[in-house]
Protein backbone atom coordinates (compact mmCIF):
# COMPACT_ATOMS: atom_id res chain seq x y z
CA UNK A 1 0.00 0.00 0.00
CA UNK A 2 1.28 3.42 -0.90
CA UNK A 3 0.95 6.06 1.75
CA UNK A 4 1.56 9.31 -0.03
CA UNK A 5 2.00 12.54 1.86
CA UNK A 6 -0.73 15.15 1.87
CA UNK A 7 1.28 17.27 -0.53
CA UNK A 8 1.76 14.57 -3.17
CA UNK A 9 -1.89 13.47 -2.93
CA UNK A 10 -2.99 17.05 -3.41
CA UNK A 11 -0.58 17.60 -6.30
CA UNK A 12 -2.04 14.49 -7.94
CA UNK A 13 -5.54 15.88 -7.57
CA UNK A 14 -4.30 19.21 -8.93
CA UNK A 15 -2.84 17.66 -12.08
CA UNK A 16 -5.87 15.48 -12.79
CA UNK A 17 -8.27 18.39 -12.28
CA UNK A 18 -6.19 20.41 -14.74
CA UNK A 19 -6.58 17.74 -17.39
CA UNK A 20 -10.32 17.55 -16.78
CA UNK A 21 -10.53 21.32 -17.25
CA UNK A 22 -8.72 21.09 -20.58
CA UNK A 23 -10.80 18.21 -21.88
CA UNK A 24 -14.19 19.53 -20.83
CA UNK A 25 -13.68 22.98 -22.29
CA UNK A 26 -12.15 22.12 -25.62
CA UNK A 27 -15.58 20.85 -26.72
CA UNK A 28 -17.52 24.09 -26.14
CA UNK A 29 -18.72 25.98 -29.23
CA UNK A 30 -17.73 29.64 -29.70
CA UNK A 31 -21.22 30.94 -29.19
CA UNK A 32 -21.34 29.68 -25.63
CA UNK A 33 -18.02 31.17 -24.58
CA UNK A 34 -19.45 34.13 -22.68
CA UNK A 35 -21.82 32.00 -20.59
CA UNK A 36 -18.98 29.54 -20.16
CA UNK A 37 -16.62 32.20 -18.87
CA UNK A 38 -19.33 33.34 -16.52
CA UNK A 39 -20.03 29.76 -15.42
CA UNK A 40 -16.39 28.94 -14.66
CA UNK A 41 -16.21 32.31 -12.93
CA UNK A 42 -19.00 31.19 -10.61
CA UNK A 43 -17.21 27.91 -9.91
CA UNK A 44 -14.04 29.58 -8.69
CA UNK A 45 -16.29 31.19 -6.12
CA UNK A 46 -15.42 27.94 -4.31
CA UNK A 47 -12.90 30.14 -2.46
CA UNK A 48 -15.93 30.84 -0.28
CA UNK A 49 -15.18 27.49 1.37
CA UNK A 50 -11.73 28.73 2.40
CA UNK A 51 -13.30 31.74 4.08
CA UNK A 52 -15.94 29.59 5.79
CA UNK A 53 -13.33 27.13 7.09
CA UNK A 54 -11.06 29.80 8.53
CA UNK A 55 -13.85 31.94 9.93
CA UNK A 56 -15.22 28.85 11.67
CA UNK A 57 -12.04 28.43 13.70
CA UNK A 58 -11.62 29.54 17.27
CA UNK A 59 -8.90 31.94 18.36
CA UNK A 60 -9.20 34.57 15.63
CA UNK A 61 -8.51 38.16 16.56
CA UNK A 62 -10.68 41.10 15.52
CA UNK A 63 -8.80 41.97 12.34
CA UNK A 64 -8.78 38.36 11.13
CA UNK A 65 -12.51 38.12 11.77
CA UNK A 66 -13.18 41.32 9.86
CA UNK A 67 -11.00 40.22 6.93
CA UNK A 68 -12.73 36.86 6.80
CA UNK A 69 -16.22 38.31 6.93
CA UNK A 70 -15.26 40.40 3.88
CA UNK A 71 -13.74 37.31 2.23
CA UNK A 72 -16.92 35.31 2.86
CA UNK A 73 -19.04 38.17 1.50
CA UNK A 74 -16.79 38.38 -1.60
CA UNK A 75 -16.95 34.63 -2.11
CA UNK A 76 -20.74 34.67 -1.76
CA UNK A 77 -21.04 37.46 -4.33
CA UNK A 78 -18.83 35.45 -6.66
CA UNK A 79 -20.88 32.27 -6.27
CA UNK A 80 -24.44 33.59 -6.17
CA UNK A 81 -23.91 36.42 -8.65
CA UNK A 82 -21.93 34.17 -10.99
CA UNK A 83 -24.51 31.41 -11.18
CA UNK A 84 -27.46 33.81 -11.46
CA UNK A 85 -25.89 35.84 -14.25
CA UNK A 86 -24.97 32.69 -16.16
CA UNK A 87 -28.49 31.41 -15.75
CA UNK A 88 -29.93 34.67 -17.08
CA UNK A 89 -27.63 34.58 -20.10
CA UNK A 90 -28.46 30.98 -20.88
CA UNK A 91 -32.21 31.40 -20.45
CA UNK A 92 -32.04 33.68 -23.48
CA UNK A 93 -30.75 30.91 -25.68
CA UNK A 94 -34.04 29.11 -25.22
CA UNK A 95 -35.55 30.78 -28.26
CA UNK A 96 -39.32 30.97 -28.69
CA UNK A 97 -39.74 29.15 -32.04
CA UNK A 98 -37.71 26.22 -30.74
CA UNK A 99 -39.95 25.93 -27.71
CA UNK A 100 -42.52 24.13 -29.87
CA UNK A 101 -40.49 21.02 -30.41
CA UNK A 102 -38.93 21.20 -26.98
CA UNK A 103 -42.05 21.33 -24.93
CA UNK A 104 -41.56 17.90 -23.48
CA UNK A 105 -38.02 18.93 -22.62
CA UNK A 106 -39.13 22.14 -20.92
CA UNK A 107 -41.78 20.59 -18.71
CA UNK A 108 -39.49 18.62 -16.39
CA UNK A 109 -37.06 21.54 -16.34
CA UNK A 110 -39.77 23.86 -15.11
CA UNK A 111 -40.77 21.37 -12.44
CA UNK A 112 -37.22 20.97 -11.27
CA UNK A 113 -36.41 24.61 -10.82
Amino acid sequence: MILASTLTTNLGILVLAGFIGFVVISKVPNTLHTPLMSGTNAIHGIVLLGGLLLLGLAGLDGLSKALLVIAVAFGTINVIGGFLVTDRMLEMFKSKPKAKDEEKDNAPKGAGS
Binding site: T6, A17, G18, G21, T34, M37, A42, L57, K65, D87
Partner: protein, 501 residues
Protein backbone atom coordinates in the same frame (compact mmCIF):
# COMPACT_ATOMS: atom_id res chain seq x y z
CA UNK B 1 -27.94 17.78 12.19
CA UNK B 2 -29.17 14.83 14.19
CA UNK B 3 -29.47 14.83 17.94
CA UNK B 4 -28.02 11.31 18.05
CA UNK B 5 -24.36 11.68 18.93
CA UNK B 6 -23.44 8.77 16.67
CA UNK B 7 -25.16 10.23 13.63
CA UNK B 8 -23.71 13.65 14.21
CA UNK B 9 -20.23 12.16 14.55
CA UNK B 10 -20.76 10.42 11.23
CA UNK B 11 -22.03 13.57 9.54
CA UNK B 12 -19.06 15.51 10.83
CA UNK B 13 -16.48 12.89 9.97
CA UNK B 14 -13.82 13.89 7.50
CA UNK B 15 -14.73 10.92 5.31
CA UNK B 16 -18.35 11.99 5.01
CA UNK B 17 -17.32 15.56 4.19
CA UNK B 18 -14.87 14.21 1.62
CA UNK B 19 -17.60 12.11 0.01
CA UNK B 20 -19.80 15.20 -0.28
CA UNK B 21 -16.87 17.01 -1.90
CA UNK B 22 -16.50 14.16 -4.40
CA UNK B 23 -20.19 14.47 -5.27
CA UNK B 24 -19.67 18.22 -5.69
CA UNK B 25 -16.74 17.72 -8.13
CA UNK B 26 -18.74 15.27 -10.17
CA UNK B 27 -21.55 17.81 -10.41
CA UNK B 28 -19.10 20.59 -11.39
CA UNK B 29 -17.66 18.47 -14.18
CA UNK B 30 -21.08 17.29 -15.35
CA UNK B 31 -22.30 20.89 -15.24
CA UNK B 32 -19.41 22.16 -17.32
CA UNK B 33 -20.04 19.41 -19.84
CA UNK B 34 -23.63 20.57 -20.02
CA UNK B 35 -22.46 24.09 -20.82
CA UNK B 36 -21.03 22.69 -24.06
CA UNK B 37 -24.39 22.67 -25.86
CA UNK B 38 -27.08 25.32 -26.19
CA UNK B 39 -29.86 22.92 -25.18
CA UNK B 40 -28.09 21.48 -22.14
CA UNK B 41 -26.39 24.67 -20.97
CA UNK B 42 -29.11 25.92 -18.60
CA UNK B 43 -29.28 22.56 -16.88
CA UNK B 44 -25.47 22.36 -16.81
CA UNK B 45 -25.18 25.64 -14.99
CA UNK B 46 -27.79 24.60 -12.44
CA UNK B 47 -26.07 21.27 -11.89
CA UNK B 48 -22.84 23.11 -11.12
CA UNK B 49 -24.81 25.37 -8.78
CA UNK B 50 -26.14 22.35 -6.88
CA UNK B 51 -22.56 21.08 -6.65
CA UNK B 52 -21.56 24.38 -5.07
CA UNK B 53 -24.40 24.21 -2.55
CA UNK B 54 -23.33 20.70 -1.54
CA UNK B 55 -19.70 21.83 -1.16
CA UNK B 56 -20.77 24.72 1.07
CA UNK B 57 -22.96 22.50 3.26
CA UNK B 58 -20.15 19.94 3.56
CA UNK B 59 -17.77 22.64 4.71
CA UNK B 60 -20.18 23.89 7.35
CA UNK B 61 -20.42 20.34 8.77
CA UNK B 62 -16.74 20.55 9.66
CA UNK B 63 -16.10 19.84 13.34
CA UNK B 64 -14.09 22.95 14.04
CA UNK B 65 -16.79 25.22 12.68
CA UNK B 66 -17.89 28.11 14.91
CA UNK B 67 -18.51 31.86 14.74
CA UNK B 68 -21.86 31.17 13.15
CA UNK B 69 -23.01 34.75 13.56
CA UNK B 70 -20.05 36.09 11.58
CA UNK B 71 -20.49 33.45 8.89
CA UNK B 72 -24.16 34.40 8.57
CA UNK B 73 -23.16 38.08 8.40
CA UNK B 74 -20.68 37.48 5.58
CA UNK B 75 -23.06 35.30 3.59
CA UNK B 76 -25.91 37.78 4.11
CA UNK B 77 -23.75 40.69 2.93
CA UNK B 78 -22.67 38.76 -0.14
CA UNK B 79 -26.21 37.71 -0.95
CA UNK B 80 -27.53 41.23 -0.51
CA UNK B 81 -25.01 42.53 -3.02
CA UNK B 82 -24.81 39.57 -5.39
CA UNK B 83 -28.47 38.85 -6.13
CA UNK B 84 -29.57 42.37 -7.11
CA UNK B 85 -26.37 42.89 -9.10
CA UNK B 86 -26.94 39.70 -11.09
CA UNK B 87 -30.67 40.29 -11.51
CA UNK B 88 -30.55 43.91 -12.60
CA UNK B 89 -27.48 44.03 -14.82
CA UNK B 90 -28.33 44.75 -18.44
CA UNK B 91 -27.29 42.15 -20.98
CA UNK B 92 -25.02 44.71 -22.64
CA UNK B 93 -23.16 45.21 -19.37
CA UNK B 94 -22.58 41.50 -18.89
CA UNK B 95 -18.82 41.49 -19.58
CA UNK B 96 -18.06 44.01 -16.87
CA UNK B 97 -20.31 42.14 -14.44
CA UNK B 98 -18.28 38.99 -15.05
CA UNK B 99 -15.13 41.05 -14.46
CA UNK B 100 -16.51 42.30 -11.15
CA UNK B 101 -17.56 38.85 -9.93
CA UNK B 102 -14.15 37.56 -10.92
CA UNK B 103 -12.47 40.38 -9.03
CA UNK B 104 -14.22 39.70 -5.74
CA UNK B 105 -13.21 36.04 -6.05
CA UNK B 106 -9.58 37.11 -6.35
CA UNK B 107 -10.06 39.51 -3.45
CA UNK B 108 -11.41 36.70 -1.27
CA UNK B 109 -8.34 34.58 -2.07
CA UNK B 110 -5.98 37.42 -1.12
CA UNK B 111 -7.81 38.07 2.17
CA UNK B 112 -7.85 34.38 3.07
CA UNK B 113 -4.10 34.14 2.46
CA UNK B 114 -3.58 37.19 4.62
CA UNK B 115 -5.46 35.63 7.54
CA UNK B 116 -3.53 32.39 7.05
CA UNK B 117 -0.34 34.37 7.32
CA UNK B 118 -1.53 36.16 10.44
CA UNK B 119 -2.00 32.82 12.15
CA UNK B 120 0.76 30.71 10.67
CA UNK B 121 3.25 33.18 9.29
CA UNK B 122 5.32 33.15 12.47
CA UNK B 123 6.25 29.57 11.63
CA UNK B 124 7.03 30.05 7.93
CA UNK B 125 10.52 28.94 7.13
CA UNK B 126 10.93 26.69 10.20
CA UNK B 127 11.50 23.42 8.42
CA UNK B 128 12.11 21.29 11.48
CA UNK B 129 8.45 21.54 12.32
CA UNK B 130 7.32 19.85 9.12
CA UNK B 131 7.05 16.57 10.97
CA UNK B 132 4.58 18.06 13.41
CA UNK B 133 2.11 18.56 10.58
CA UNK B 134 2.02 14.88 9.81
CA UNK B 135 1.57 13.66 13.36
CA UNK B 136 -1.82 12.15 14.11
CA UNK B 137 -4.04 14.45 16.09
CA UNK B 138 -1.53 17.20 15.78
CA UNK B 139 -1.73 19.54 12.91
CA UNK B 140 -4.71 18.89 10.74
CA UNK B 141 -8.09 19.96 12.05
CA UNK B 142 -10.81 18.36 9.98
CA UNK B 143 -10.47 19.15 6.31
CA UNK B 144 -9.53 22.60 7.41
CA UNK B 145 -6.31 24.12 8.42
CA UNK B 146 -4.01 23.96 11.36
CA UNK B 147 -3.98 27.20 13.23
CA UNK B 148 -2.75 26.27 16.66
CA UNK B 149 0.20 24.19 15.57
CA UNK B 150 3.83 24.75 16.03
CA UNK B 151 4.55 25.01 12.33
CA UNK B 152 3.45 24.38 8.80
CA UNK B 153 5.38 22.77 5.97
CA UNK B 154 7.19 25.08 3.60
CA UNK B 155 4.94 24.13 0.71
CA UNK B 156 1.93 25.53 2.59
CA UNK B 157 3.72 28.87 2.85
CA UNK B 158 4.65 28.79 -0.85
CA UNK B 159 1.11 28.06 -2.03
CA UNK B 160 -0.38 30.58 0.36
CA UNK B 161 1.96 33.37 -0.74
CA UNK B 162 1.37 32.49 -4.41
CA UNK B 163 -2.39 32.67 -3.84
CA UNK B 164 -2.01 36.05 -2.13
CA UNK B 165 -0.06 37.59 -5.03
CA UNK B 166 -2.26 36.17 -7.79
CA UNK B 167 -5.47 36.93 -5.91
CA UNK B 168 -4.46 40.55 -5.37
CA UNK B 169 -3.43 40.99 -9.03
CA UNK B 170 -6.73 39.46 -10.13
CA UNK B 171 -8.81 41.65 -7.79
CA UNK B 172 -7.27 44.92 -8.95
CA UNK B 173 -6.90 43.91 -12.57
CA UNK B 174 -10.56 42.89 -12.73
CA UNK B 175 -11.68 46.13 -11.12
CA UNK B 176 -9.75 48.13 -13.70
CA UNK B 177 -11.27 46.00 -16.48
CA UNK B 178 -14.70 46.69 -14.97
CA UNK B 179 -13.95 50.41 -14.81
CA UNK B 180 -12.85 50.48 -18.43
CA UNK B 181 -15.84 48.57 -19.78
CA UNK B 182 -18.21 50.62 -17.62
CA UNK B 183 -16.44 53.72 -18.98
CA UNK B 184 -15.58 54.97 -15.51
CA UNK B 185 -11.98 54.83 -16.66
CA UNK B 186 -11.18 55.79 -20.29
CA UNK B 187 -11.08 52.71 -22.51
CA UNK B 188 -8.00 53.89 -24.36
CA UNK B 189 -4.64 52.58 -23.19
CA UNK B 190 -3.15 54.49 -20.24
CA UNK B 191 0.53 53.78 -19.81
CA UNK B 192 3.99 54.98 -18.91
CA UNK B 193 4.94 54.52 -22.55
CA UNK B 194 8.10 52.59 -23.20
CA UNK B 195 8.86 52.37 -19.47
CA UNK B 196 5.68 50.35 -18.95
CA UNK B 197 7.23 46.94 -19.33
CA UNK B 198 10.11 47.85 -17.04
CA UNK B 199 7.65 49.08 -14.41
CA UNK B 200 5.65 45.85 -14.68
CA UNK B 201 8.77 43.75 -14.43
CA UNK B 202 10.06 45.66 -11.39
CA UNK B 203 6.72 45.27 -9.62
CA UNK B 204 6.63 41.55 -10.42
CA UNK B 205 10.18 41.05 -9.13
CA UNK B 206 9.41 43.04 -5.96
CA UNK B 207 6.27 40.99 -5.26
CA UNK B 208 8.15 37.73 -5.82
CA UNK B 209 11.06 38.87 -3.68
CA UNK B 210 8.69 39.75 -0.83
CA UNK B 211 7.02 36.36 -1.27
CA UNK B 212 10.31 34.46 -1.16
CA UNK B 213 11.39 36.42 1.89
CA UNK B 214 8.13 35.53 3.65
CA UNK B 215 8.39 31.86 2.79
CA UNK B 216 11.98 31.84 4.01
CA UNK B 217 10.81 33.07 7.39
CA UNK B 218 10.57 36.86 7.43
CA UNK B 219 7.93 37.02 10.14
CA UNK B 220 6.64 40.46 9.27
CA UNK B 221 2.99 41.18 8.68
CA UNK B 222 4.01 44.55 7.29
CA UNK B 223 6.01 42.78 4.58
CA UNK B 224 2.98 40.63 3.76
CA UNK B 225 0.77 43.70 3.44
CA UNK B 226 3.49 45.33 1.36
CA UNK B 227 3.45 42.30 -0.93
CA UNK B 228 -0.32 42.58 -1.35
CA UNK B 229 0.03 46.28 -2.17
CA UNK B 230 2.78 45.65 -4.74
CA UNK B 231 0.63 42.92 -6.32
CA UNK B 232 -2.26 45.40 -6.37
CA UNK B 233 -0.08 47.96 -8.17
CA UNK B 234 0.98 45.23 -10.58
CA UNK B 235 -2.67 44.41 -11.32
CA UNK B 236 -3.33 48.08 -12.08
CA UNK B 237 -0.15 48.53 -14.10
CA UNK B 238 -0.83 45.47 -16.25
CA UNK B 239 -4.47 46.21 -17.11
CA UNK B 240 -4.47 50.03 -17.40
CA UNK B 241 -2.38 50.10 -20.61
CA UNK B 242 -4.62 47.56 -22.35
CA UNK B 243 -7.20 48.94 -24.77
CA UNK B 244 -10.92 48.22 -24.50
CA UNK B 245 -10.86 45.83 -27.47
CA UNK B 246 -8.55 43.41 -25.69
CA UNK B 247 -10.56 43.46 -22.46
CA UNK B 248 -12.39 40.14 -23.05
CA UNK B 249 -9.08 38.34 -23.30
CA UNK B 250 -7.86 40.05 -20.14
CA UNK B 251 -10.99 39.16 -18.18
CA UNK B 252 -10.70 35.58 -19.31
CA UNK B 253 -7.02 35.52 -18.31
CA UNK B 254 -7.81 36.98 -14.88
CA UNK B 255 -10.60 34.41 -14.54
CA UNK B 256 -8.05 31.66 -15.08
CA UNK B 257 -5.72 33.35 -12.58
CA UNK B 258 -8.39 33.46 -9.91
CA UNK B 259 -9.03 29.78 -10.53
CA UNK B 260 -5.34 28.98 -10.08
CA UNK B 261 -5.13 31.06 -6.91
CA UNK B 262 -8.18 29.23 -5.54
CA UNK B 263 -6.45 25.91 -6.28
CA UNK B 264 -3.31 27.16 -4.51
CA UNK B 265 -5.41 28.14 -1.50
CA UNK B 266 -6.83 24.62 -1.64
CA UNK B 267 -3.37 23.08 -1.40
CA UNK B 268 -2.43 25.42 1.46
CA UNK B 269 -5.65 24.59 3.34
CA UNK B 270 -5.53 20.90 2.36
CA UNK B 271 -9.04 21.19 0.94
CA UNK B 272 -9.75 19.04 -2.12
CA UNK B 273 -12.86 20.98 -3.16
CA UNK B 274 -10.85 24.14 -3.66
CA UNK B 275 -8.09 22.30 -5.45
CA UNK B 276 -10.38 20.59 -7.95
CA UNK B 277 -12.77 23.45 -8.67
CA UNK B 278 -9.99 26.04 -8.78
CA UNK B 279 -7.79 23.97 -11.07
CA UNK B 280 -10.63 23.13 -13.48
CA UNK B 281 -11.30 26.84 -13.82
CA UNK B 282 -7.59 27.56 -14.14
CA UNK B 283 -7.21 25.07 -16.97
CA UNK B 284 -10.41 25.85 -18.82
CA UNK B 285 -9.88 29.59 -18.42
CA UNK B 286 -6.43 29.27 -19.98
CA UNK B 287 -7.90 27.44 -23.00
CA UNK B 288 -10.68 29.97 -23.37
CA UNK B 289 -8.20 32.85 -23.19
CA UNK B 290 -6.09 31.28 -25.86
CA UNK B 291 -9.08 30.67 -28.15
CA UNK B 292 -10.08 34.32 -27.87
CA UNK B 293 -6.58 35.58 -28.49
CA UNK B 294 -6.26 33.36 -31.57
CA UNK B 295 -9.57 34.62 -32.94
CA UNK B 296 -8.28 38.19 -32.63
CA UNK B 297 -4.92 37.29 -34.11
CA UNK B 298 -3.26 38.54 -30.94
CA UNK B 299 -0.85 36.75 -28.70
CA UNK B 300 -1.45 36.75 -24.96
CA UNK B 301 2.07 38.10 -24.18
CA UNK B 302 1.52 40.95 -26.67
CA UNK B 303 -1.75 41.89 -25.01
CA UNK B 304 -0.30 41.78 -21.51
CA UNK B 305 2.73 43.79 -22.64
CA UNK B 306 0.27 46.55 -23.46
CA UNK B 307 -1.61 48.31 -26.29
CA UNK B 308 -1.13 48.19 -30.04
CA UNK B 309 2.27 49.26 -31.30
CA UNK B 310 2.82 52.50 -33.22
CA UNK B 311 2.64 50.52 -36.47
CA UNK B 312 -1.15 50.63 -36.43
CA UNK B 313 -1.37 54.36 -36.92
CA UNK B 314 1.14 54.31 -39.78
CA UNK B 315 -0.64 51.54 -41.67
CA UNK B 316 -3.94 53.28 -41.05
CA UNK B 317 -2.66 56.51 -42.52
CA UNK B 318 -1.47 54.68 -45.63
CA UNK B 319 -4.82 52.98 -46.03
CA UNK B 320 -6.63 56.30 -45.77
CA UNK B 321 -4.34 57.87 -48.33
CA UNK B 322 -5.04 55.19 -50.91
CA UNK B 323 -8.78 55.42 -50.68
CA UNK B 324 -9.43 58.98 -49.59
CA UNK B 325 -12.58 60.69 -50.77
CA UNK B 326 -14.54 57.71 -52.05
CA UNK B 327 -16.84 57.12 -49.11
CA UNK B 328 -20.47 56.95 -50.17
CA UNK B 329 -23.16 57.88 -47.69
CA UNK B 330 -26.79 56.81 -47.83
CA UNK B 331 -30.11 57.49 -46.11
CA UNK B 332 -32.47 55.28 -44.15
CA UNK B 333 -35.08 55.30 -46.92
CA UNK B 334 -32.54 54.28 -49.57
CA UNK B 335 -31.28 51.54 -47.30
CA UNK B 336 -34.86 50.35 -46.73
CA UNK B 337 -35.49 50.07 -50.46
CA UNK B 338 -32.22 48.24 -50.99
CA UNK B 339 -33.10 45.76 -48.24
CA UNK B 340 -36.72 45.31 -49.31
CA UNK B 341 -35.75 44.17 -52.81
CA UNK B 342 -32.96 41.86 -51.69
CA UNK B 343 -33.59 38.15 -51.52
CA UNK B 344 -30.83 37.42 -49.06
CA UNK B 345 -29.61 39.74 -46.28
CA UNK B 346 -26.87 39.04 -43.79
CA UNK B 347 -26.69 41.18 -40.65
CA UNK B 348 -23.23 41.66 -39.14
CA UNK B 349 -23.57 42.97 -35.58
CA UNK B 350 -20.73 44.46 -33.54
CA UNK B 351 -20.07 46.42 -30.41
CA UNK B 352 -21.94 49.42 -31.83
CA UNK B 353 -25.13 47.38 -31.64
CA UNK B 354 -24.42 46.47 -28.01
CA UNK B 355 -23.66 50.05 -26.99
CA UNK B 356 -26.80 51.39 -28.64
CA UNK B 357 -28.89 48.50 -27.19
CA UNK B 358 -30.14 48.03 -30.73
CA UNK B 359 -30.76 44.27 -30.56
CA UNK B 360 -34.56 44.63 -30.25
CA UNK B 361 -34.69 47.16 -33.07
CA UNK B 362 -32.63 44.77 -35.20
CA UNK B 363 -35.05 41.96 -34.43
CA UNK B 364 -37.96 44.18 -35.51
CA UNK B 365 -36.18 44.97 -38.76
CA UNK B 366 -35.59 41.28 -39.35
CA UNK B 367 -39.28 40.49 -38.78
CA UNK B 368 -40.28 43.22 -41.21
CA UNK B 369 -37.89 41.86 -43.85
CA UNK B 370 -39.06 38.29 -43.31
CA UNK B 371 -42.65 39.42 -43.87
CA UNK B 372 -41.51 40.47 -47.31
CA UNK B 373 -39.93 37.08 -47.98
CA UNK B 374 -36.35 38.22 -47.51
CA UNK B 375 -34.06 35.53 -46.13
CA UNK B 376 -32.21 37.00 -43.14
CA UNK B 377 -29.34 35.54 -41.16
CA UNK B 378 -26.75 36.91 -38.76
CA UNK B 379 -23.01 36.49 -39.21
CA UNK B 380 -21.25 36.44 -35.86
CA UNK B 381 -17.51 37.01 -35.64
CA UNK B 382 -15.96 35.10 -32.72
CA UNK B 383 -14.80 38.32 -31.07
CA UNK B 384 -17.58 40.67 -32.15
CA UNK B 385 -18.58 42.82 -29.20
CA UNK B 386 -16.64 42.54 -26.01
CA UNK B 387 -16.54 38.80 -25.52
CA UNK B 388 -16.95 35.69 -27.61
CA UNK B 389 -20.65 34.94 -27.67
CA UNK B 390 -21.54 38.49 -26.57
CA UNK B 391 -23.59 39.08 -29.74
CA UNK B 392 -25.34 35.74 -29.37
CA UNK B 393 -26.43 36.61 -25.87
CA UNK B 394 -27.77 40.01 -26.97
CA UNK B 395 -29.60 38.65 -30.01
CA UNK B 396 -30.99 35.76 -27.98
CA UNK B 397 -32.31 38.37 -25.53
CA UNK B 398 -34.21 39.88 -28.47
CA UNK B 399 -35.62 36.42 -29.32
CA UNK B 400 -33.61 35.91 -32.48
CA UNK B 401 -33.81 32.17 -33.24
CA UNK B 402 -30.58 30.39 -32.47
CA UNK B 403 -30.37 28.81 -35.94
CA UNK B 404 -30.31 32.22 -37.66
CA UNK B 405 -26.95 32.94 -36.02
CA UNK B 406 -24.10 31.79 -38.24
CA UNK B 407 -20.55 31.45 -37.01
CA UNK B 408 -17.77 32.87 -39.12
CA UNK B 409 -16.79 29.60 -40.83
CA UNK B 410 -20.37 29.01 -41.94
CA UNK B 411 -21.11 32.62 -42.81
CA UNK B 412 -18.11 33.40 -45.01
CA UNK B 413 -18.89 31.08 -47.97
CA UNK B 414 -22.41 32.55 -48.03
CA UNK B 415 -21.45 36.18 -48.59
CA UNK B 416 -20.94 35.68 -52.32
CA UNK B 417 -24.61 34.90 -52.78
CA UNK B 418 -25.75 37.63 -50.40
CA UNK B 419 -27.48 40.70 -51.85
CA UNK B 420 -27.04 43.06 -48.93
CA UNK B 421 -24.77 42.80 -45.92
CA UNK B 422 -25.95 45.11 -43.17
CA UNK B 423 -23.04 45.91 -40.85
CA UNK B 424 -24.31 47.31 -37.54
CA UNK B 425 -21.58 48.82 -35.41
CA UNK B 426 -18.94 46.27 -36.39
CA UNK B 427 -15.64 47.53 -37.69
CA UNK B 428 -12.30 45.73 -37.41
CA UNK B 429 -13.87 42.28 -37.85
CA UNK B 430 -14.96 43.27 -41.37
CA UNK B 431 -11.77 45.03 -42.48
CA UNK B 432 -10.45 43.42 -45.69
CA UNK B 433 -7.00 44.77 -44.80
CA UNK B 434 -6.68 41.73 -42.58
CA UNK B 435 -6.59 39.66 -45.78
CA UNK B 436 -5.09 42.03 -48.33
CA UNK B 437 -2.62 44.33 -46.61
CA UNK B 438 0.37 42.55 -45.11
CA UNK B 439 1.57 45.78 -43.46
CA UNK B 440 -1.66 46.15 -41.51
CA UNK B 441 -1.40 45.39 -37.79
CA UNK B 442 -4.47 43.19 -38.04
CA UNK B 443 -3.11 41.28 -41.05
CA UNK B 444 -3.90 37.59 -40.62
CA UNK B 445 -6.88 38.09 -38.32
CA UNK B 446 -9.82 36.04 -39.60
CA UNK B 447 -12.57 38.39 -40.76
CA UNK B 448 -16.12 38.23 -42.01
CA UNK B 449 -15.76 38.61 -45.77
CA UNK B 450 -18.53 41.16 -46.06
CA UNK B 451 -16.87 42.75 -49.10
CA UNK B 452 -17.70 39.61 -51.10
CA UNK B 453 -21.43 40.40 -51.03
CA UNK B 454 -23.15 42.38 -53.78
CA UNK B 455 -23.68 45.45 -51.65
CA UNK B 456 -22.85 46.53 -48.14
CA UNK B 457 -24.62 48.99 -45.86
CA UNK B 458 -22.61 50.08 -42.84
CA UNK B 459 -24.39 51.70 -39.90
CA UNK B 460 -21.81 53.64 -37.92
CA UNK B 461 -21.75 56.77 -35.80
CA UNK B 462 -18.83 58.41 -37.61
CA UNK B 463 -15.78 57.64 -39.71
CA UNK B 464 -13.70 57.24 -36.54
CA UNK B 465 -11.58 54.11 -36.67
CA UNK B 466 -12.37 51.21 -34.32
CA UNK B 467 -10.45 50.05 -31.28
CA UNK B 468 -7.53 48.89 -33.34
CA UNK B 469 -7.16 52.48 -34.58
CA UNK B 470 -7.07 51.36 -38.21
CA UNK B 471 -9.01 52.73 -41.18
CA UNK B 472 -11.43 50.17 -42.57
CA UNK B 473 -10.87 49.66 -46.31
CA UNK B 474 -14.36 48.26 -46.56
CA UNK B 475 -15.83 51.76 -46.27
CA UNK B 476 -14.03 52.87 -49.44
CA UNK B 477 -15.18 49.97 -51.60
CA UNK B 478 -17.56 50.92 -54.43
CA UNK B 479 -20.33 48.55 -53.27
CA UNK B 480 -20.33 49.98 -49.75
CA UNK B 481 -22.59 52.77 -48.55
CA UNK B 482 -22.47 54.32 -45.12
CA UNK B 483 -25.49 55.16 -43.00
CA UNK B 484 -24.20 57.47 -40.27
CA UNK B 485 -26.03 57.45 -36.97
CA UNK B 486 -26.69 55.67 -33.71
CA UNK B 487 -27.33 51.97 -34.42
CA UNK B 488 -30.68 51.86 -32.62
CA UNK B 489 -32.23 54.93 -34.22
CA UNK B 490 -30.80 54.11 -37.66
CA UNK B 491 -32.23 50.58 -37.58
CA UNK B 492 -35.60 51.84 -36.30
CA UNK B 493 -35.68 54.42 -39.08
CA UNK B 494 -35.04 51.75 -41.69
CA UNK B 495 -37.82 49.62 -40.19
CA UNK B 496 -40.35 52.45 -40.27
CA UNK B 497 -39.35 53.30 -43.85
CA UNK B 498 -39.88 49.63 -44.72
CA UNK B 499 -43.34 49.64 -43.17
CA UNK B 500 -44.30 52.55 -45.42
CA UNK B 501 -43.05 50.96 -48.63
Amino acid sequence: MSSLPLASTFLQSDDFIYVLYIIAFALFIQGLRGLAGPTTAVRGNRIAGVGMAIAVVATLLNKGEGNWGLIALGVALGTAVGIPAARQVKMTAMPQMVALFNGVGGGAVALISWVEFRHQGSTYGSRTLEVAHELPGGAVVGSGVAVHVGGVPTYVAIFSVFAAIVGSVSFWGSNIAFGKLQEIIPGRPISFGSAQQIVNLVLLVLALAAGVDLVAGAHSELLFIGMLVIAALLGNAVVLPIGGADMPVVISLLNAFTGLSAAATGVALNNPALIVAGMIVGASGTILTNLMAVAMNRSIPAIVAGGFGGGGAVAGAEGAGEHAGTVKSTSASDAAIQLAYASRVVIVPGYGMAVAQAQHAVRELTKELEKRGVEVSYAIHPVAGRMPGHMNVLLAEADVPYDQLKEMEDANPEFQRTDVSLVIGANDVTNPAAKNTPSSPIYGMPILEVNESRSVIVIKRSMNPGFAGIENELYYEPETSMLFGDAKSAVSEITSELEQL
